[in-house]
């Protein structure tokens, strides 16, 4: 946008297309555009520069203040994190990144390979565990995921581990039996360590469209989500569906994934996110 040019319909259309193209969704886009148009009228805004600021502010206002909290591992020991989401979103890779991050901060980390279903899921997490240099609890392929979660917690308790990360199989949220399995894994964790899991993170693929809202709703119900990680934002997708998810369910984004390596994880920064949404 060039500063100090008068605002015209093109600017507002551009705003609308930018939001739609970022997967913000039709309803929320119309709501943001409506608010911006209202402010242009009320505040008699004439400069494109000022318009740009108003657009950013209105979008930023959709992200609740408390979203800025990251994960405070000192709240519990072991601090147990359950990682969930639909197929292929980046759960296993995200666990590797989180493990690397916290190991780098001097924490002891233990992984639980509770995806006992998918071909080579356990091998994949084991390779990451070896690469990052953290131990892992696993059972045979095809065994009960809840049993793996249970054994991971008991191991963490006896070893005095700081952080436990539990990987689960990808599952489509409209599959009742799979969501029930997840609820059972969660209950077993709670039973083994009251208060756990201390965080349940939904890993959402950054290229996902409005179905992300359905995913968040279903996983919130089955697994009591406390946060999200949005992956693959190193691509061209903007992950705008998270704005609707944050508004409708008040689930904060903790981290974003920006690549396939162990270091490719950034804490979520609402202002930085809004800025990239409009670049």
């Amino acid at each position: 946008m060039t500063p100090d040019l008068p605002i015209d319909k093109h600017a507002i259309d551009g705003l609308e297309e930018g939001l739609l193209g970022a997967d913000v969704g039709a309803e929320l886009t119309m709501s943001i555009v409506g608010r911006v148009e209202g402010r242009v009228r009320d505040e008699k805004i004439t400069s494109m520069d000022r318009l740009g600021q108003v657009i950013r502010d209105e979008t930023r206002a959709l992200i609740p203040e408390r979203q800025i909290a990251t994960i405070d591992l000192s709240r519990a020991r072991p601090f147990v994190i359950l990682v969930v989401g639909v197929n292929g979103t980046g759960k296993t890779t995200t666990i590797a990144k989180l493990a690397a991050r916290w190991k780098g901060e001097g924490k002891s980390v233990l992984l639980g390979a509770a995806d006992t279903f998918r071909a080579a899921a356990i091998e994949q997490l084991q390779m990451w565990a070896d690469r990052v240099g953290v131990p892992m609890v696993k059972h045979k392929a095809g065994s009960d995921p809840a049993a793996v979660a249970h054994d991971t917690i008991t191991a963490a308790k006896s070893r005095g581990t700081d952080v436990v990360l539990i990987d689960t199989a990808g599952r489509l949220h409209n599959k009742a039996h799979l969501m029930q399995e997840l609820s059972k894994v969660r209950r077993v964790i709670e039973k083994e360590l009251p208060g756990a899991p201390h965080e349940t993170l939904l890993v959402l693929d950054g290229t996902t469209g409005q179905n992300g809202v359905n995913q968040a709703e279903a996983f919130l119900e089955a697994a009591k989500l406390t946060g999200m990680v949005v992956t693959k934002l190193d691509g061209t997708a903007k992950g705008g569906v998270i704005l609707s998810i944050m508004r409708q369910f008040d689930i904060p984004v903790k981290f974003i994934g920006v690549g396939e390596g162990a270091d490719d994880l950034i804490p979520f920064d609402p202002q930085a996110y809004v800025d990239t949404l409009f670049e």
Binding site: E17, L20, G21, A22, D23, G25, A26, E27, V86, N87, G88, T89, G90, F117, R118, A119, A120, E123, Q124, Q126, M127, W128, R131, L172, H173, N174, K175, D205, T207, T208, G209, Q210, N211, G212, N214, K232, D234, G235, T236, A237, K238, V241, E260
Partner: protein, 291 residues
């Protein structure tokens, strides 16, 4: 649903000989929102509604249908036509025929490779599964397990970590071992990763696939046009596979991808098991997108 919305728009239309423009424009507003909510790319929605408008304006109000039903029918027919014709087979040309799987990270290429191998085996072919993803931890092992699960031979690569060399050797070996189809499973990659896109192009030049299948997640949003177009521009996609259709995403990505890559949607993934592969049904997809 869309029919109800159309009914509301048209309830004021009485005794008119043709669908008037005011009604159509209001109907198109509803259609536009429905398609955007279904994740159809906003530019594709614009083109689509323009097309529907042309068809609808001046259409005589047929007495058998309500105007609402008429417009809904125009929308559904147009959507179905754009999504493409009925079963389009795989082009298996060459000795061996080579199928290259390509797409973004996590879209379902490895699983689909297994499904495709089983599908071809059941049709009397002798497929060979080839691991060209040397990057993702345990990707080779994953395909090896997939191959053993569908009882299809797996191309062992030893210490070879050059995807281009692996593909070339596999195709050469396939000839000797009398495999008539080679399925190259490649690593997920971003369409903006120049080096990795070049890698795919080199594999293509070395192995001359008769099918380059763009494997896309059916829950993809607006970005579907960008990635699909880039893969097509750089490689020349011959067919599209939409995965995870057993989910509840409306699947507007199907229309978005089809609009920028004018190639058939050949197959769909409808589950995690190896039998969960189906042909694409444009009529069912049209209904699903419209909600």
């Amino acid at each position: 649903n869309l029919q109800d919305k159309m009914d509301r728009v048209f309830k004021t239309l009485r005794g008119e000989a043709s669908l008037n423009e005011w009604h159509i424009d209001n109907a198109l507003k509803e259609i536009r929102v429905a398609l955007l909510e279904a994740d159809v790319n906003f530019k594709v929605v614009k083109e689509f509604t323009t097309r529907v408008r042309e068809k609808a304006v001046g259409e005589n109000v047929l007495t058998a249908f309500s105007p609402a039903q008429q417009v809904t029918k125009i929308v559904r027919d147009e959507l179905q036509t754009l999504l493409g014709g009925n079963e389009v087979g795989l082009a298996l040309v060459g000795s061996p025929a080579v199928i290259m799987m390509a797409g973004l990270q996590g879209s379902g290429k490895t699983t689909t490779s297994g499904k495709l191998a089983l599908h071809l085996k059941n049709r009397g072919k002798r497929p060979l599964l080839v691991p060209c993803d040397v990057y993702r931890p345990a990707a080779i092992e994953q395909l090896r397990i997939v191959a053993s699960n569908v009882k299809v031979p797996f191309f062992e690569i030893g210490d070879n970590r050059d995807p281009i060399d692996i593909a070339r050797k596999a195709v050469a070996d396939a000839r000797t071992l009398l495999h008539d189809v080679v399925i190259l499973d490649t690593a997920g990659r971003l369409h903006i990763d120049d080096d990795l896109m070049k890698e795919l192009d080199t594999i293509k030049r070395e192995t001359r696939p008769s099918e380059i299948l763009f494997v896309a997640d059916s829950m993809t949003g607006q970005d579907a046009v960008k990635s699909a177009k880039e893969f097509d521009d750089r490689l020349g996609v011959t067919g599209i596979v939409l995965t995870k259709l057993d989910g509840d995403a409306r699947g507007g990505a199907a229309l978005s991808i089809k609009s920028v890559v004018n190639r058939p949607i050949k197959l769909v993934g409808i589950g995690e098991k190896y039998v969960d592969l189906d042909v694409f049904h444009p009529d069912r997809m049209a209904s699903r997108i419209l909600g």
